[in-house]
């Protein structure tokens, strides 16, 4: 099944739990999506193989960064009628706090939805959404 068919199927059934399966890397990470009303939260369930520094221990910055890039893409597949994966132009990430060995959540804010380029702000948190551990900015080329 092509991506467009998979997306059409998810949208028709309104079954967003299937969304991470549309992106192999998101599926590999074990990413889940939680849609409540008009908002989508992405979840990276804790897994020992996501650890970067086993001494602290802390999640690998690349694992959390990759999760947030996935969250940005999945958010656009959910909030628009995109038929294909938007292309990432760039991704900038600021690590505010060390990510503990526990579940991580990400919320995506579409700062600008453009015909050609969209700008997203992505915030990852572990305790409450108002205490982000990592924030990121992403520009996407919309096809």
């Amino acid at each position: 099944m092509s991506l467009a068919d998979t997306l059409a199927d998810i949208r028709r059934r309104n079954d967003w739990a299937l969304l991470p399966q549309a992106v192999p890397f998101a599926h590999m990470l074990g990413l889940r999506v939680d849609v409540r009303g008009e908002s989508l939260t992405c979840v990276l369930p804790y897994e020992p193989s996501l650890i970067g520094n086993p001494v602290l221990p802390a999640l690998h910055g690349g694992a959390v960064g990759g999760f947030m890039e996935c969250a940005g893409i999945l958010h656009m597949l959910w909030s628009t009628d995109a038929q294909s994966i938007p292309k990432t132009i760039n991704f900038g990430i600021d690590y505010l706090l060390s990510c503990r060995a526990q579940d991580t959540f990400a919320n995506v804010y579409v700062v600008k939805l453009g015909k050609r380029v969209s700008n997203l702000r992505i915030e990852a948190w572990q305790t409450t959404p108002d205490k982000p551990v990592v924030v990121a900015t992403m520009n996407l080329l919309m096809r």
């Binding site: 192999p24 890397f25 690998h60 960064g65 760039n90 900038g92």
Partner: protein, 152 residues
């Protein structure tokens, strides 16, 4: 603990990080103040199932890991530090089906910070698919690797 010069010796430190080991990130070369690491192509690293292009998130892990080791090669020790920020520009999609490399160097050190830049490419350094910069902050915490660390 001093960082070993020999690639096979420092390559073993990559496997201490479970996530790096899970992705199969490999040591390729140690350079003066920097290094080259590689990420194998695997179907579950794909970001766009229509064309098999790697997900940026897989490349992010390769870049973060390469940056960290670039700092170690500049200071020649495993000093505890944390990634403060990174910025990656995707110049073009990575070619599907092939291993990708990241080459990075630490170009500036201060007592508290290390500035790193690099690029990612398939096999031609002159034709990168991503360009990246990052800043690391030295911390008081425990490093991932210590003299007591048992190598896997």
């Amino acid at each position: 603990m001093n960082i070993p010069h020999d690639t096979t010796a420092w390559a073993r430190f990559l496997a201490i990080s479970p996530y790096t080991a899970r992705l199969g990130i490999e040591a390729v070369a140690a350079e003066d103040g920097g290094c080259v690491l590689a990420l194998p192509y695997r179907p579950d690293f794909v970001g766009d199932p229509d064309n098999g292009v790697l997900h940026g998130g897989a490349v992010t892990a390769l870049i973060d890991t390469t940056f960290g080791f670039a700092v170690y090669f500049r200071i020649r020790e495993f000093r505890p530090m944390a990634t403060l920020d990174m910025r990656i520009d995707y110049l073009r999609p990575a070619k599907p089906g092939v291993k990708v490399h990241t080459r990075a160097h630490c170009y500036k050190l201060t007592p508290e910070l290390a500035f790193v830049r690099g690029c990612s490419y398939e096999d031609d350094l002159e034709d990168p698919f991503a360009s990246c910069v990052g800043v690391f902050m030295f911390t008081a915490g425990q490093p991932s690797f210590t003299a007591k660390t048992t190598l896997p």
